[in-house]
């Protein structure tokens, strides 16, 4: 080996050593990071002192303490439902109306009785064929005839449900008519008020216009000087106008009477707006009514008076205008022009007032008509109610007559039984036949008793509210058939409160005592609701393992059937060392926690999981109270979760926050 070769060899060794040392240095520097990456990552939490409060939760349905189920003992067809869920009813309010007549059960038993009677009679006739029972048979025939006659009489009194319904419908219709008419009266009154308001307003407008006219008249000197004659004329004009107004009112009154007469004569109704129309109307009526009729005289007089007064007023106005014109000079021309305009405006306002007064008169007339319509509709209601009462009275008579039929049926039965007795006494029939007849008779007696019982407990045609409260359920509708086993409606008395219950295990039941207050889990109920544990009793479904917690629930706006969630439990207890449930582990030696221990090493801190055996004192949903192992609050950090399975003594890394 040459010297050069030896030198190359040494260089290679040196390079290798440098690389090795460099790698080792890097690994040393990052050893902590590299090691940490392979360690399980753990979340830790400090041990705290705190409370443990084990709660029992459950949910159930509210049941009313004052729920009353409205039931009927027999089956009927419902013809009307007068209440809805949520309605408040008082004792005696009609809840449902039922079809008149017998219940399904009664009809069925009665049919059975009729069949039994028929069969009995057939057998009786056969048995009587071989003997002389003339007297008994005549008695039977008589009883049969009496029964047939009574049945025929009774049938005449029969009132069908359709008739009753029609009568009730007629009442409803008439009542609706009354309501409509009353509404018309109200509308007319409103319109009159409005028209009166308009008249008042218009009157004010006239007064204002008049004041203005007077003011301008004073400006142009109509009230003094040469106006002495003007003032007199003007006062005369006002007097005439007042007279004209009174005459018009009298005329309108006469016209109304005449109008009533005219309506009787002809259907034609002419709107009377202007005097000319009135005149034409008068003439038309005069043709139809005797012209000599004194009824027209006052109207004619009033009309003539109006015409006369209007002429006089026109004359006065003309005179006033003449005075004004003669007095008019170039110096006060502007004032006079204003006066003329004001005068025109006053006339226009007066005309409007006249129109409004006419409109008011028309509205008053329509009010009278509407009031008359109300009276007529009320009379109609009274009549229709009387019709219904008559029908009901007839129906009552029918029912009484039907009950009377029972006497005839009993008489017929008695006649039949007498025949049977006679046959038995004669001993002509075989013993078997006698026994058969006797059995049939007993059947008939049994069915009679049953019919009597059903008749006694039969309902009327209306189902009344047995207690005041809120209707929480209605299970029938119009046209449906009731059933004795089914409640027609449920009425709750909210004042009596509600109960709810749920099942818990015996262990859970031991944690609570009667009288404990429960909290609402349905937070949306708010604080208005309170629940108190009223009773702890065996759960009928699992009496060995479970118990029922029964709560008294009170609050606003509660209804039966509402689902309520409650939470009840022990009072909170304080403990010195409380950890999350996930920190407590178990193995075959018992419970333990893993405590994080930190140890400072040259390149950082190393964390180790150390096992500490503890006793579990109590726990709730989230936390566990522990004791032992030197665990104390605030000084010990326990591992609550880990990214990998942990064993005591393992190095761990803490979760980066």
């Amino acid at each position: 080996m040459t010297t050069e070769e030896k030198t190359n060899k040494r260089g290679w060794v040196k390079n290798a050593a440098i690389i090795f040392l460099a790698v080792m240095l890097v690994l040393t520097l990052f050893s902590n990071t590299i090691m940490n990456a392979s360690l399980p990552e753990v979340a830790q939490q400090t041990v705290q002192n705190g409370t443990i409060s084990a709660k029992i939760r459950g949910s159930g349905t509210l049941e009313s303490n004052g729920a009353y189920e409205v039931t009927l003992k027999q089956s009927y067809k419902v013809t009307g439902v007068n209440v809805r869920v949520g309605d408040t009813v008082e004792v005696g309010d009609t809840l449902f109306t039922l079809e008149s007549g017998e219940s399904t059960e009664l009809s069925s038993v009665r049919k059975e009785l009729d069949d039994a009677r028929l069969q009995y009679q057939i057998d009786l006739v056969n048995a009587a064929a071989s003997g002389d029972y003339t007297t008994e048979q005549k008695n039977i025939e008589r009883a049969q005839k009496d029964l047939e006659d009574a049945t025929a009489d009774s049938r005449e009194l029969l009132v069908t449900q359709e008739e009753l319904n029609a009568a009730q419908a007629a009442i409803d219709e008439a009542e609706q008519g009354v309501e409509n008419a009353k509404q018309s009266v109200k509308d007319a009154e409103t319109r009159i008020d409005q028209a009166q308001e308009r008249v008042d307003k218009q009157q004010e407008a006239v007064n204002e216009a008049k004041e203005k006219t007077d003011q301008y008249a004073a400006d142009v000197g109509y009230s003094g000087g040469g106006g002495g004659s003007y003032a007199g004329l003007y006062a005369s004009l006002e007097s005439k106008q007042e007279e004209l107004r009174a005459t018009r009112i009298a005329y309108a009154a006469e016209l109304e009477q005449l109008d009533a007469l005219a309506r009787e004569e002809a259907a034609k109704d002419m709107p009377l707006v202007t005097e000319d129309e009135v005149l034409r109307y008068m003439q038309a009526i005069a043709i139809r009514i005797d012209p000599t009729d004194t009824a027209l005289a006052p109207l004619k007089e009033a009309y003539n008076a109006i015409k006369m007064l209007e002429d006089e007023i026109d004359s006065l106005n003309g005179q006033i205008s003449d005075i004004i014109d003669s007095d008019m000079s170039s110096s006060n021309y502007a004032s006079k022009k204003k006066y003329d305009e004001a005068k025109e405006a006053q006339k226009a306002e007066e005309k409007k007032l006249k129109d409004e007064e006419k409109a008011l008169a028309r509205e008053k007339k329509s009010l009278e008509e509407a009031e008359k319509a109300v009276t007529e509709a009320e009379t109609k209601v009274t009549e229709k109610k009387k019709d219904l009462e008559d029908l009901k009275a007839k129906e009552k008579q029918y029912k009484e007559s039907v009950r009377g039929l029972r006497d005839y049926e009993d008489k017929l039965d008695a006649a039949n039984f007498a025949l049977e007795e006679k046959i038995r006494e004669s001993s002509k029939e075989s013993q078997i036949d006698q026994l058969k007849l006797e059995s049939q008779r007993k059947d008939i007696e049994r069915l009679q008793a049953r019919v009597a019982e059903l008749e006694k407990e039969a309902s009327g045609t209306e189902v009344k509210a047995p207690q005041a409260g809120v209707v929480t359920a209605v299970s029938v509708k119009t046209g449906s058939e009731t059933s004795p086993s089914e409640a027609l409606a449920v009425i709750e008395a909210p004042d009596l409160g509600y109960t709810m219950s749920f099942s818990v295990t015996n262990e859970q039941a031991r944690r609570v005592t009667v009288g404990d207050e429960a909290e609402m889990s349905n937070t949306w109920w708010g604080p208005q609701l309170s629940a108190t544990l009223k009773q702890i009793k065996p759960d009928p479904q699992n009496p060995r393992t479970n118990r029922l917690l029964v709560f008294e629930v009170k609050g606003e706006d509660l209804t039966a059937g509402t689902n309520v969630s409650l939470s009840i439990g022990q009072k909170s207890q304080n403990y010195d060392a409380v950890v999350p449930n996930s920190a407590v582990r178990t193995d075959n030696k018992g419970s333990f926690v893993l405590v994080v221990e930190a140890k400072t090493v040259p390149l950082g801190t190393r964390y180790t999981a150390r096992r500490v055996d503890v006793n579990v004192l109590a726990s709730d949903d989230t936390n566990t109270a522990i004791a032992g192992g030197g665990v104390s609050a605030w000084n010990t950090w326990v591992i609550t979760s880990s990214s990998k399975p942990l064993e005591p003594g393992m190095n761990v890394r803490l979760t980066e926050k």
């Binding site: 979340a43 084990a54 749920f502 859970q508 969630s565 178990t586 193995d587 030696k589 018992g590």
Partner: protein, 341 residues
């Protein structure tokens, strides 16, 4: 390489083959060991043993629905088991327990409703300390335990938590299934190992108590029962389970020994027929994952056990050759000594 040049090829090649075989065996051994440690659900016995010197074993029983094995039967079984321990004079230390068990019923998909929305979730009805056997990492909150006072809480996995609440820190919130409210106790991560991922169908999971007071899942039979129990001598625990557990047509698996050579050999022997099922047992997802890893380990078994035989055979051959050479040399020396004195 001068060193290797001096070695004759007839030695070098077999030696290289032997080293390679040993490497293959070592890799297979490490891979099987990794399989064994991958699934915490198969390692409950070690967790239960803790720092104790006693031996424990984990056994699982998978039950068909037709067995109708209700939670009540679990309680009966526990009583029978404790009586058996007593008769075997196996006693627990004061304040401790000899065994830990858990069971699960597979309730199928149900629609759950959270604050964020509704979603179908696979519901698992649990009993015992199920999360001891399946220590899924907690994302928030805590697990549910059998000894809790109220059994109206549930645990969600992260998928369910996201679908129902849009978050994972949802402990204390309420999940509605049907008309019943359940309080979320915690949210767990899903298993992230390759076998669990293969066995995972991706559906959201909800874990509830089998005896939840609402009665929603009470009627479902137990599909899987798991227990960790003393095993003072090998096979004792399994034998005890076979004796005491009701014969219901299920399958019994000893989890603690399923990666041992005899068990893996059995798997390998029946590998082609393992897919044939003669019962209606439905494996839960964690058992499917375990069976996948078991298959993998069984496939590696020949690569673990056979390759070490090659160096052994090579060494034996060498020994024989050298021995023959030595014998020949001794014989020649004797011969020479006789010939030449």
């Amino acid at each position: 390489m001068p060193f290797f040049k001096r070695i004759p090829l007839k030695i070098l090649i077999p030696s290289a083959v032997c080293v390679l075989a040993l490497l293959v065996s070592l890799f297979s051994f490490l891979s099987v060991s990794a399989d064994k440690g991958t699934l915490p659900a198969q390692d409950a016995a070690a967790r239960w043993r803790g720092e104790s010197d006693e031996r424990f074993t984990q056994v699982s029983v998978f039950l068909p629905e037709s067995a109708a094995f209700t939670p009540e039967k679990v309680y009966d079984f526990r009583a029978a088991l404790e009586a058996r321990f007593l008769s075997e004079s196996i006693e627990a230390e004061e304040g401790a327990s000899l065994y830990k068990d858990a069971f699960a019923a597979l309730c199928g998909a149900m629609t759950a409703k959270g604050d964020y929305g509704s979603s179908p979730v696979e519901v698992y009805a649990l009993g015992g300390d199920w999360f001891f056997f399946h220590p899924l990492p907690l994302a928030s909150g805590g697990y549910i335990r059998d000894d809790e006072l109220m059994h109206d809480r549930v645990v969600l996995d992260t998928v369910a938590a996201w679908q129902l609440f849009g978050a994972t820190d949802v402990a204390g919130r309420t999940v509605v299934i049907g008309d019943a409210d359940y309080i979320v106790a915690g949210v767990v991560e899903r298993e992230a190992d390759r076998y669990s991922e293969k066995a995972d169908d991706g559906s959201a999971r909800l874990y509830a108590y089998a005896d939840a007071p609402t009665g929603l899942i009470q009627d479902k039979p137990v599909a899987c029962y798991e227990i960790v129990l003393p095993d003072p001598v090998s096979g004792f625990g399994r034998k005890l389970m076979e004796d005491v557990f009701p014969k219901t047509g299920g399958e019994l698996v000893e989890n603690s020994t399923r990666y041992d050579i005899p068990a893996l050999w059995e798997v390998l022997k029946s590998f082609s027929s393992r897919t044939i099922r003669k019962n209606d047992v439905t494996y839960p997802y964690w058992e499917n994952a375990a069976r996948l890893s078991e298959n993998h380990a069984a496939r590696l078994l020949p690569f673990w056990l056979v390759p070490p035989l090659l160096p052994l055979a090579f060494l034996v051959t060498l020994g024989v050759v050298f021995a023959n050479k030595g014998v020949k040399k001794v014989a020649e020396k004797i011969k020479r000594y006789r010939e030449f004195g």
